[in-house]
């Protein structure tokens, strides 16, 4: 079973536009994390938001968390061609150390 489900599965935008990806999860969580994966490589951690936080920023990234709706969103502002990658949300289901990932959003930023 997957803890998170990302939406959309694929997103294509023009350079300079904003990209928004959504994640829904099933159980209570301690935190929710977003990762990025360039084609055929390992994942790189982008940002972590704790369950008692509602919004967090890191550079061009903005993450929100709505625990009542069990959802999170990742906003990438002023996108660049180098942002082309797959993005995954992940969280440890309440009380567990296991880190469970969603199916990911493939982002294409056209130059």
């Amino acid at each position: 079973s997957q803890q998170g489900e990302e939406d959309p599965q694929a997103l294509s935008i023009q350079e300079g536009e904003n990209a928004t990806m959504n994640c829904s999860y099933k159980t209570s969580i301690n935190n929710l994390q977003w990762y990025r994966q360039n084609s055929g490589r390992g994942l790189v951690h982008l940002i972590l938001i704790r369950s008692n936080e509602r919004e967090k920023h890191s550079g061009r990234l903005r993450v929100t968390l709505d625990t009542s709706k069990k959802s999170s969103s990742l906003l990438i502002t002023a996108s660049r061609a180098a942002d082309t990658a797959s993005y995954f949300c992940a969280s440890p289901p309440g009380g567990s150390y296991k880190l469970i990932f969603g199916s990911g959003t493939r982002l294409l930023v056209r130059p």
Binding site: S1, Q2, Q9, N30, N31, Q33, Y35, G40, R41, G42, L43, V44, H45, L48, R50, F88, A90, P92, Y97, K98, L99, I100, F101, G102, S103, G104
Partner: protein, 113 residues
């Protein structure tokens, strides 16, 4: 920086072979994970270890086993490789504190023929 090293980037094995995928981390992290990644399915957790000699099954443990004899090394074992185990395998580690990030290896693309 944390470094997570997987023993092979690409691997080709024959059906029925016993396959060992090795993962080594250099940051003394307690938790280690093995995932497989297939198109459209995201990352699925195979096994998880939270300490030496400790392991828990993930969502898809069938056909796999793991070994953690030392804190820095987490091995994934395919007892008898099958073609449906052709996939990208990713190892990760993280500190036991529940609000920390995970660090990933570069992945091993395994093909079973």
């Amino acid at each position: 920086d944390v470094k997570v090293t997987q023993s092979s980037r690409y691997l080709v094995k024959r059906t029925g072979e016993k396959v060992f995928l090795e993962c080594v981390q250099d940051m003394d992290h307690e938790n280690m994970f093995w995932y497989r990644q297939d198109p459209g399915l995201g990352l699925r957790l195979i096994y998880f270890s939270y300490d030496v000699k400790m392991k828990e099954k993930g969502d898809i443990p069938e056909g796999y086993s793991v070994s953690r004899e030392k804190k820095e090394r987490f091995s994934l074992i395919l007892e008898s490789a099958s073609t449906n185990q052709t996939s990208m395998y990713l190892c990760a580690c993280e500190r036991r504190n529940m609000n920390t990030e995970a660090f990933f290896g570069q992945g091993t693309r395994l093909t079973v023929v």
